[in-house]
């Protein structure tokens, strides 16, 4: 698939707007529990998710709001989820952006334990291969997640099976407060991936075109039986890890450098260079604003879950369950 830049812009703008709306709710005391920040990661989650076909699946992590949106999860459900409402994705059961799974949209809900999404995506891909289906699984992890044993175990399984899975590493150079040089003796994640037998490429994670190009190539290769790929996307989280994080640990100079490379600004510049009319961009901004305002209102006005529901739906239905 060719990347339609305006489509990409719309999803990235929506991602940013939803993220801003969430932060705004929290900063004004309307939040419930904690919430993660997404700013800076929009090109990765959107660019990658746009490469999938309808019956592919994605197993995101905590900076992939854009992937949920692109896959069709509505801002209403996502915001209601974050506010713990009955109308949210998890009906008030899971917090923050955890547990936003919906298999009808091809989204596997994630657990906080990082990087548990990886082996699950690999297993999904193994299932596709087992049944001979031309489907692909996409998943994400951070630089911190890339130094876990589960990362190498997952890559090895994927490579052994030539599983149709694409693993995007969002290298924002920090795991929470810990810089990559302090958590990874070898910060070259692509090299570590190749050593496990998985092809890997390094790309600019703030350039949605680069993200899309690399992930689309990987998705196509996976679908054609070429096996797994790791795409290492360099970026920077531009706000704290989560709403409560003072964020004093990233040097200002570094942030400034990345501020100039804001993924939305970069894309706007591209659009301008491609002589897209400013009006079309602003129309998207306006539409997104309306969507997000509506979603915030919907979430805020949504009912809390019924406490009597707390023990319902522990077990999956099937013989002997209701």
């Amino acid at each position: 698939m060719e990347l339609d830049l305006l489509v990409a812009y719309r999803w990235m703008r929506l991602t940013r707007a939803v993220d801003d709306a969430i932060r705004n709710l929290w900063l004004t005391g309307q939040g419930v529990g904690g919430t993660f920040n997404q700013r800076g990661h929009e090109a990765i989650s959107v660019g990658a998710a746009l490469c999938l076909a309808g019956d592919d699946v994605v197993a995101p992590m905590h900076r992939d709001l854009g992937a949920y949106l692109v896959r069709g999860m509505s801002p209403r459900r996502l915001l209601a989820h974050q506010l713990g409402r009955a109308t949210g994705v998890s009906r008030g059961r899971d917090a923050n952006i955890h547990g936003c799974g919906d298999l009808s949209l091809g989204i596997i809900g994630f657990v906080s334990h990082l990087p548990q999404s990886l082996p699950v995506a690999v297993g999904a891909a193994m299932a596709f291969r087992h049944r001979g289906e031309p489907r692909v699984a996409l998943t994400f992890t951070g630089d911190g997640g890339s130094i876990t044993g589960l990362f190498t175990e997952s890559l090895n399984l994927a490579a052994l099976d030539r599983a149709p899975v694409v693993i995007v590493v969002e290298n924002n150079q920090y795991a929470y407060s810990t810089p990559i040089a302090e958590h990874s003796a070898n910060p070259d994640i692509a090299a570590r991936s190749r050593a496990m037998g998985v092809d890997a490429v390094d790309i600019d994670g703030n350039d949605v075109i680069a993200v899309h190009r690399a992930v689309q190539a990987a998705v196509n290769r996976a679908r054609d039986g070429g096996g797994p790929t790791v795409v290492v996307a360099e970026t920077m989280r531009m706000l704290g890890h989560a709403i409560h994080d003072g964020f004093e640990y990233v040097p200002d100079a570094l942030l400034e450098r990345w501020h100039e490379r804001d993924p939305l600004t970069l894309l706007e510049n591209r659009l301008a260079a491609a002589e897209t009319e400013t009006d079309r961009i602003r129309a998207i901004d306006d539409e997104v604003g309306v969507v997000v305002d509506d979603a915030v209102a919907f979430a805020r006005d949504s009912p809390w879950p019924d406490p009597g529901e707390v023990t319902a739906r522990v077990w999956a239905t099937g013989p002997g369950h209701e």
């Binding site: 699946v57 197993a59 994705v89 998890s90 059961r93 899971d94 955890h98 547990g99 936003c100 799974g101 919906d102 298999l103 596997i108 809900g109 657990v111 906080s112 334990h113 548990q116 990886l118 082996p119 699950v120 995506a121 690999v122 297993g123 999904a124 891909a125 193994m126 299932a127 596709f128 087992h130 049944r131 699984a137 044993g149 589960l150 175990e153 997952s154 090895n156 399984l157 052994l160 739906r313 522990v314 077990w315 999956a316 239905t317 099937g318 013989p319 002997g320 369950h321």
Partner: protein, 325 residues
Amino acid sequence: MSDGTYLDAISAALLHEMDRDDRVLVMGEDVAGPFGGAFKVTKPVAERFGESRVRNMPMTELGFIGAANGMALMGLRPVIEVQFADFISTGFDSIVQFAATAHYRWGGAVPWVLRAPADGNLRSGPFHSQNPEAWFVHTPGLKVVAPSTLADAYGLLLSAIRDDNPVVYFESKPLYRALKGSVPGGDAPVPIGVAEIARPGSHCTVVTYGAMRHEATTAAAHLATEGIDVEVVDLRTLKPLDLETVTASVRKTSRVLVVHAANRLAGIGAEIAATVADVCFTDLDAPVKRLGGLDVPVPFSPPLEDAYRPSAATIADSCRELCAW
């Protein structure tokens, strides 16, 4: 039906379900043919179904149980073998954090079975004798079964594979080849969540499961010669617990002993004893007693392991005390 062992019954159940449902596949370390697993449970399975449905995994329990989660979400029905139940702790996160919670949180069904060869009395020491079922009963979202007969080994595995939830299936290594009988066949599922009266009796109740069922019935046979009539309840499923069968028995006998090979301290026996002591408070003529493993790693040397573990003899002693109360 043909003659065979407890182990054969497990193999037979796998063969039956894999014939019946091509979503079922087996995965684990060394399970593929011709080797067929450390205990050879999957040998006939690998012979019949080959490598695509009986798949060797690297020694990476966390990763491959994680992969089983993904397969199960995509509609397959993986039957995972960990080489010994002891190694279940290596894959812990993929079980207790992901598989156990997905359905409650967002409706993702994870229909796998994890086969865990458990229990001791084989002089295998601290790392090949563990009974870790309490960890999983305490964890919301899992089902846990522990068959003790050929019929249950077969029938509970059928039900576990057909269940839409993650089921941890504890196999009893001491019964693998020691317990013989006719190997079931055909469509003979044993429902999850239903205990069995292994031996009816009127003077006291022994609630147990796994290899201890046989210690208990041996004790009961012996006690019968002394005029003590013991009812033995085999739980069969540890989660969800069939408390009705247990409390009905206790109401009949008014005396109860709970027995398992796992560490007694904070084991499942504590849950059963606490529940019985509560809901049968006015029915009890004696305190609810418990027997279980000592609070030490399972020791290797025969005199130590024998001291560690309940047996027909210590069960009989406890029943005598209980009935004399």
